[in-house]
């Protein structure tokens, strides 16, 4: 799936906003009108290009037959157990997907991670909760981070960080801090926790 050009991205965004605001996809004429094209065919050709790159599907013959294939449309992946070695978002780790519903949380959720263990109960994060992870937010002291240490993924509060020592704090008095020397052991920050979902059942 290659990248879209700026113009193509504009059109994809227009389709998304049309779906969101009006509940249905736009017609070629709608697109042309909104973006100022004088021919609906300009929209047609853009749509073909976007389809070719895999971001949408076009239903032949159907009016407004534009279907999104974007990550947002598929839903946000829920990661259960992380298989040793590979990246967190690898296909085999995806337990299910849940519809993206913005307005719920103020930050973008790249994926949900199912919490194992009780090391964070003192900040109200319990086993089996789903934490919403944002990959791009800056990592700050005091924030709850998702870190990979060697092959293990863990959720902890970042207590302190320097070139030769990272301290991760478990929010449960029964656990002790994890101290890592990044010059010796591998530590990768996968993201920060920006939200939480819990299912009582």
């Amino acid at each position: 799936m290659k990248g879209l050009t700026d113009r193509q991205q504009e059109i994809l965004d227009l389709i998304k906003s049309n779906l969101e605001n009006n509940g249905l996809p736009p017609t070629r004429a709608d697109i042309a009108r909104t973006l100022g094209f004088k021919s609906p065919n300009a929209a047609e050709q853009h749509l073909r290009a976007i389809e070719k790159k895999g971001f949408i599907s076009i239903l032949a013959g159907a009016s407004r037959g534009i279907i999104l294939n974007t990550e947002e449309a598929l839903g946000i992946p829920v990661i259960g157990l992380v298989a040793a070695g590979g990246p967190i978002l690898a296909q085999e780790n995806i337990e299910k997907r849940i519809p993206q519903a913005h307005n719920i949380l103020s930050n973008k959720i790249d994926y949900y991670l199912r919490v194992k263990g009780d090391s964070m109960v003192d900040v109200g994060i319990y086993e089996n909760d789903l934490i919403g992870v944002n990959k791009k937010n800056p990592i700050k002291v005091g924030s709850i981070v998702i870190a990979r240490i060697g092959e293990e993924v863990t959720v902890k509060t970042l207590e302190s960080i320097s070139s030769n020592q990272v301290v991760l704090k478990a929010e449960n008095s029964e656990y002790s801090n994890i101290e890592i020397n990044p010059e010796k052991d591998e530590i990768v920050f996968e993201g920060t926790c920006v939200g939480l979902l819990r299912d009582f059942s």
Copy 2:
């Protein structure tokens, strides 16, 4: 907003499932085909009736121009402060709405209620969390209930219940139990807590 007939409900459900599965509303012909009508006009007339009852809007002249006006499409209301007196779901209590995203929680969410105070921290419910409330689940001892005592709405664990005593337990050792005699004081169970959303920001 009057009730729909069975047939009209079927058509409304079909529109919803079309939107969910295909991402766009059906045409009159689609509806006729699916439900076995020999004339697309049958669908047209049903749509008019459903529109008249307020459940959808029809965009004149637009293909697939069917817009849902249902509660699900509007999103789940978020209740902040409950104004004294009236029902929880009164319009003035609705802070905003957030898109319904099923698959997230196993039970139906009728509304979200913003948590005030720290009386439930020991079960991981914090101030400003949004708890998902289901109105119809049976109230059981041990479940977290939303109760209205007089004019106040509170979230507590139901400890015990009998004809002359209801005990509500705060999940925070600094608070004491609330004991109510339903023969003397008014207590209404508004629902049970079936989910939780937290925004870290």
